[in-house]
Amino acid sequence: MTAPGDIGASRQLVALLRLRWQMIRSRPLRGAIAAITVLPATLVIAGLLGISTLPDDQSFNLSLATPTFYVGFLVLAVLAPLVSGGGYELYPPDQLVAYSVKPATVFRGTLVLAPVNLAWMINVVALLVITGFATGELAWGPTSRALLTVTAFIGAITIAGHTIGWLVMGIRQSRAGRLATNAVGALAILGGLLIFWTDNVIPLLDNSPTTYVLLGAYDGYQGDYGPWLVVVGSLVVGGAVLLRAGDAVTGWALRRPGDHADRTSSRSLPRRRWSHSVLLSLLAMDHASVWRSTPLRRGVLVLVLVPGVVSAFAGMTWQSLILVPGLIAAGAGLLFGINAFTLDGAGSVWLSTLPGWASPAYLAKSLVFLEVALAAVLSAFIGGSLRAQPPNATSEVTAAMMSALCCAVLVVALGMRSSLRNPHRADLQGPRDTPATPGVMAAQSMRFALVTTFTSLYFALLAYSGAWWIPLLGALPVLLLSALHWHRTGLAWAHPHVRASVVQTVAGG
């Protein structure tokens, strides 16, 4: 019911989005965000044109695997909001306490920000390109109908994922809820392992309900409007119902009295041994800041465990293993690395009054960032190499190793530069807290994705050389350039005006 002077959730959302846009003062950033909004469509068109040059039998082969890709997207669409407690928020909750923002507005805001998740965006582009190719030769009307089908699927599944994310977030506000969800999570993992060890993965995927989505796309392509409309209509109606359910679930979750944050902050922690080493002390402080933060702890665990497990199960080729680390490193960068000094929060002002803090602080932040990035890429590398098909040449192995190392180092160098250029106050306490505003997150995710993808492709090319030492040699310029970039950022950090600006901003500005 809408009270006098009250506006609906959709109008609230538009107002909040408009304000968010106005708050982006940097013209280049505005340009980058505007470019990002059209980039996915451009990538889909380019992808379709590129893939259409492949022989027709490839189209048939791809169509067999397409429902599996849909399942992969489904898993991602559920997992991502689960990890982030419902999804990204337009504003931190403490900035909206003075306004009567509806839970439905919050929920729909998280849906609008789903594309900020790089993995989500890449999967969406991939699904559209794959479906366009798998359904048949490119043709304006038929291909559009096929793509409309998969778009409806993406929308419905994204809404479902976010609804589940908020539901679980609400359930986990109590101890019993946390135990229950942990038990369900453990059972899901055990079930997955059981399916894998009993060789039921392929039969299960063959019978996946996502096959109906592909069949709907075929119907749309061939002009069988009746069955096509049934599939698209079901997805649209299902999405609308889930949207309403998500509104209600978010309201319920936000109303629940939470004990998790109180539990964390009211618990006495064991004392660490005192160290005389400045660097070790700062590293210990930064490690604590990462592990005691709910979103960072979850993010690190997901980044380290999920790619490793998926790579292990997937039985990838070594060529694929060269390409995988880039995107994982990009994800690691978005965890906190694009705004690394926010780990100190309001304490950064006090820290900056300690003698000899600046240089070791820069080094400590960089090392903790590098640890996370390396742990994530190495996990994927090790997991993938366990069940990878034998390499065609040893150069593929060294290329995969160097791709992982260089992508991690590159992301750290770029992230530390961003930490100085775009500092931002972020608490990183609540499950949906992010290290930067949604616009900056989107721009940075695209930047990281482009740089790491090109780096991975560079190593994929070097792998064709057949000589194991070529990728090692090829890694040298990348590592040197990254080190130079990082060093120059360090010199900028040494400048008192730059440091003061960063410190004041992350502390509260």
Binding site: R271, S277, L351, G508
Partner: protein, 236 residues
Amino acid sequence: MSAVVEARGLTVAFGPVVAVDGFDLTVPARETLALVGRNGAGKSTTLKVLAGVLPPTTGSVSVAGIDVVRHPDLARTRVGYCPDVGGLIPRATPWEHLQLAATMRAMGDGWQTRAEDLLDRFDLLGVADRVTAGFSHGMGRRMSVVLAAFHEPEVLLLDEPFDGVDPLGVEATMDVIAELRATGSAVLVSTHLLNLAVQACEQAVVLRRGQVVAAAPASELAGASGAERYRSLLTS
């Protein structure tokens, strides 16, 4: 008596906004000075410059005879600073803050006794191992004063140390100010609470739009007549 804090022609500008407009400030050893004035008068900015958090746009600043701009790290060894807002690492405990301060200030073994004494006096010993994110505003202020006074600095800079602090916390802060003054430190206190400023300090400087509009014994700002005089300085 030689000056422990000395600023000459101190100016801090943020683009077109001049927060501190070329004033001079001298604080000798064993003196407690209150910086008072309205919001935006330049009190916090002045303390940030003295603490080495913010470099001045022009002018010279020295603490304990050390140029803050040219030798910031050396100057930081002599200064203890309580920032106006926050000041604590959210996911670290008070004890971890003190451990880090002891390491970075090369305090050597034995700092634990001083740390426990200060935490006890500020009623923070019971929460010494809890993360500060769960602290109330007043607890955070008290902890910031503890960190500023921990290494018994030659210059103690307290920015709004009484804001939201209960009477026992105010008393503990007053005691620390008196103790450090007795050992020869210079203490600067920035606050909106005139009565407490008068109680804590011997001298007072009234700032307005980044400039010093009056410097006098703090007692002259005491009572109803002092408050009236203060009000006229802020509005004239």
